[in-house]
């Protein structure tokens, strides 16, 4: 019997790292899909229909059924398409992988992203928090291993290694330090090992475009914060 025709669609935004991680998963699995670019300033009825709770990208549609939240989408992809497994088979190793992917998202990436939306003391607090947890993530990486789980690319790599690129952009725009060359050599090597994989490198948006886009975005956020405070701000 011929296999049912799969229809896979991805609703995304070119500058979103969460969308990127889903594209990476689809690429590694060799899954063909249609891509729909969203204008996040004017969200489409499609996005609002398929992600009514959070109204965010990425949204994966598999034969018309929506999946949201990048980590959950990647888990779904891995469980549905069995080639090139991203997660380990052993339940204990899987649990460790899930734990670290969640840690990277909730403790490292979330405060990093928050810092971009904040100013002054609140921003400093987010940066400090991100740095502290990045040091923990550094200690979870094993010396000499190319990827998080070993020599093959996997779930944690796809879910989180993009943060190196975005951290550099945040550092440049906010004039803060997130990645410490002395204290985080394994993280730096890991970021580079993952994004240099040719299949993944192909999907990366150009850094210059990301920088320009986020500079504009930051100006917009600062202006909005100033209006709320009714006091002009200096610095970044």
């Amino acid at each position: 019997m011929a296999p049912e025709k799969e229809l896979v669609q991805l609703i995304g935004f070119w500058g979103s790292p969460y969308v990127l991680s889903v594209r990476w998963a689809l690429k590694l699995k060799g899954i063909e899909y249609e891509y729909h670019e969203e204008n996040l300033l004017k969200k489409s009825p499609l996005l609002l229909q398929y992600n009514p709770v959070y109204k965010k990208v990425p949204v994966l549609l598999h034969n018309g059924k929506p999946l949201v939240e990048s980590l959950m989408i990647i888990q779904y992809i891995d469980e549905t398409w069995k080639q090139n497994p991203l997660q380990p088979q052993d339940p204990y190793e899987r649990a460790k992988t899930l734990f670290w992917a969640k840690f990277a998202h909730e403790k490292c990436i979330a405060p990093m992203v928050s810092s971009f939306f904040k100013i002054g003391e609140e921003q400093e607090k987010c940066v400090k928090e991100a740095c502290e947890h990045l040091r923990t993530l550094e200690s979870a990486l094993e010396e000499g291993k190319r990827f998080f789980g070993g020599e093959t690319i996997g779930f944690v790599d796809i879910a989180a290694a993009w943060m190196g690129c975005w951290a550099r952009i945040i550092e440049e725009i906010l004039s803060v330090k997130l990645i410490d060359e002395e204290k985080m050599p394994r993280l730096i090597a890991w970021f580079s090992n993952v994004v240099e994989v040719p299949a993944l490198k192909e999907c990366m948006p150009p850094t210059q475009n990301l920088l320009e886009h986020n500079i504009k975005f930051r100006k917009f956020l600062v202006a909005a914060a100033e209006r709320l405070q009714s006091v002009p701000l200096t610095g970044n």
Partner: protein, 224 residues
């Protein structure tokens, strides 16, 4: 090989309760270690050096942390009485609503507890809206898992305990049978289940605990 299972928990942690429920449903024997979070044991810090929190499940010496991660581990390791749906899409939906519960329900219920007057009224409206979204997932089933308790029932289970306690403290109904009929029925079914009903923490102790937690926030509101 004899299985060795240990659960590090506190007497009141709703996240630890999830693991207690799951272990009971699977019929698993385990040792409980109660922690006092103001003076964490060396064992807890050894098994969960990253977050230093409960619950931690230790299986034959190997620690697993984070309650939802633990639930998945338990379900993958012991195949009797499956908790998660088999179909990847249904599984993804269950995971989504569990996360929604942790992010939105918990925070909206907390807001109801620590506010009063108009602020509390608004917090109640928000909490009920979020609870309505959860209720929609029940459809016409007895439990989120269908005829039997599953992953999402266990993930939401803490709401059954905490909402009742909150309602007593603020002397108001949050989940009433008119506004949330399906959820109300689910709470009763879940509570009455023989596996669940013996596991609740002591109610009086919980009421005192949350009253004490609430005090500083109310004092702050009064002084503003």
């Amino acid at each position: 090989m004899a299985e060795e299972l240990k659960l590090f928990r506190t007497w009141s942690s709703p996240f630890a309760l999830r693991v207690v429920h799951a272990l009971k449903i699977k019929g698993l024997e385990y040792e409980t270690i109660f922690e006092d979070l103001s003076t964490k044991s060396a064992s807890l810090l050894q098994y969960n050096p990253v977050n230093k929190k409960v619950p931690v499940l230790v299986h034959n010496g190997k620690p697993i942390c984070e309650s939802l991660v633990i639930l998945e581990y338990i379900d993958e390791t012991w195949k009797q009485c499956p908790l998660l749906p088999r179909d990847p899409y249904d599984k993804a939906e269950a995971r989504f609503w569990a996360k929604f519960g942790d992010e939105k329900i918990f925070s909206s219920i907390w807001k109801v507890l620590i506010t009063q007057g108009k602020q509390q009224e608004e917090a109640i409206v928000e909490a009920v809206q979020n609870l309505k979204l959860i209720e929609e997932q029940l459809k016409d089933k007895k439990f989120f898992g269908g005829e039997t308790i599953g992953y999402l029932d266990i993930a939401f289970g803490w709401t059954v305990n905490l909402i009742g306690i909150l309602e007593e403290i603020i002397d108001q109904k949050l989940v009433d049978e008119e506004k949330l009929p399906l959820l109300s029925a689910w709470m009763q079914n879940f509570s009455d289940d023989p596996v669940i009903k013996d596991c609740w923490p002591p109610r009086d102790k919980m009421i005192v605990k949350f009253q004490v937690m609430r005090e500083p926030y109310l004092k702050n509101l009064v002084s503003q």
